[in-house]
Amino acid sequence: MGKILTFSGVLALLLAAVPAWAHHSFGAEYDANKPITLTGVVTKVEWTNPHTHFFMDVTDDKGNVANWKFEGYPPSVLYRTGWKRDVSMKPGDRVTVFAWRARDGTNWGHGRQVTLANGTKLFWGPPAGTGDGGEKPAVDVK
């Protein structure tokens, strides 16, 4: 109970004191136990810091179309990972993405690998768990 209160206290403090929240904790925003692979048509690519995003229309078996959003590396890292802005992936391209779903169940994911229209596979974002503290805290738990 004390631990829960402490954690709640931290959250309350942060909510009150921090106007700008973060982009780095995978584990807060995304669920590593909810991997998803989707194929669709790219509608928009946001080549922005601190994270890029691309949007994709996905059509289900009944013909319903849903627009999904996938977060990725910043532009400089995408460049070093082999991406070329406005060349590798453009609106209208049919691509497949492996991602992990957002914890709130919305059509939002942390993109990991994209299979481009020409079959090339490129990483769009880092592995699950990046930025959320990893497996072990910095201090030894007594």
Binding site: K3, A20, W21, G27, A28, N49, V77, A138, V139
Partner: protein
């Protein structure tokens, strides 16, 4: 006889010393003033030589995925080192609270600078070093921050506390030693939740041991939160052909709303 022997020994010792001073201690390139030349674009947190693309072919942080067997790179919130950070008990609890809340209080998540030595704890972003006989300039792609390190100078008397502190450097043999003080208390040291006070003092050592590699060491002292000096070591590898890019973090930091929505919606993301 004894005097002549001593004179001979002295002469041999002097010649040996001169020879040792004149001969480079390693294969590291030298600047015009004879000091090791740290100039270049470097990838911290790596031990693999070669180009950026070749050295980052694994599945880890920032890799291309072409070689699944390549070593995994750590992220900036991962624990670095076997030994736990030597925090005082009350402070260790605070570090643990950050871990349990998945480091949502990470200053870099608000586009604030990663601290020293955290800037050298992950290999996703390169670092560029420029060197003159009088100062060392270090440019960090992550958050686009920089450090100007005057050599053989005193700390600025009017320095305000800052994220990266006030640095002065000196050469000790082939090692660049940088003394850093005047920090604010708004960065993390290395790993998630590793806060510090404004009494932090860091001694850094940069040794270019070969053309490809700088050995880096930081001794962190903060009597307000640590029980003893905390030593962090890593290596930086030369990445010829790599450029330090622009990184304007606040451009499109949309996750402010995301976190608030998750919290309002009662989404549980903390560790149990």
């Amino acid at each position: 006889m004894t005097a002549r022997w001593l004179t001979l020994c002295s002469a041999i010792m002097a010649a040996t010393t001169l020879h040792a001073q004149a001969r480079p201690q390693s294969s590291a390139p030298r600047a015009a003033d004879g000091k090791p030349d740290l100039t270049g674009v470097w990838q911290p947190g790596s031990t693999t030589p070669g180009s950026w693309e070749d050295a980052n072919s694994g599945n880890g942080l920032g890799g291309t995925g072409k070689n699944p067997n390549a070593p995994v790179a750590l992220s900036s919130t991962d624990r670095h080192g076997q030994e736990g950070a030597p925090y005082q008990d009350w402070a260790a609890k605070k570090v643990l609270e950050s871990f349990n809340s998945r480091d949502i209080d990470d200053p870099t998540a608000r586009c604030l600078p990663a601290g020293i030595p955290r800037l050298y704890s992950f290999g996703l972003f390169p670092v560029q070093i420029a060197q003159t006989p009088r100062q060392i300039i270090i440019l960090y792609e992550y958050m686009n921050v920089f450090r100007v390190i005057p050599l053989n100078a005193k700390h600025a008397e009017d320095a305000e506390p800052t994220y990266l502190g006030d640095s002065v450097g000196r050469w000790e043999g082939d090692t660049l030693v940088v003394d850093v003080n005047n920090f604010n208390d708004k960065t993390w040291l290395v790993g998630g939740g590793t806060f510090h006070s404004d009494k932090l003092h860091i001694t850094e050592r940069y040794t270019r041991v070969s053309k490809d590699q700088i050995n880096y060491e930081a001794v962190m002292e903060d009597p307000q939160v640590l029980t003893k000096p905390w030593v962090y070591r890593t290596t930086m590898m030369l990445r010829e052909g790599t450029r330090v890019h622009e990184y304007v973090c606040p451009e499109n930091n949309l996750d402010v709303e995301r976190y608030e929505e998750l919290l309002k919606g009662g989404i549980k993301f903390g560790r149990q």
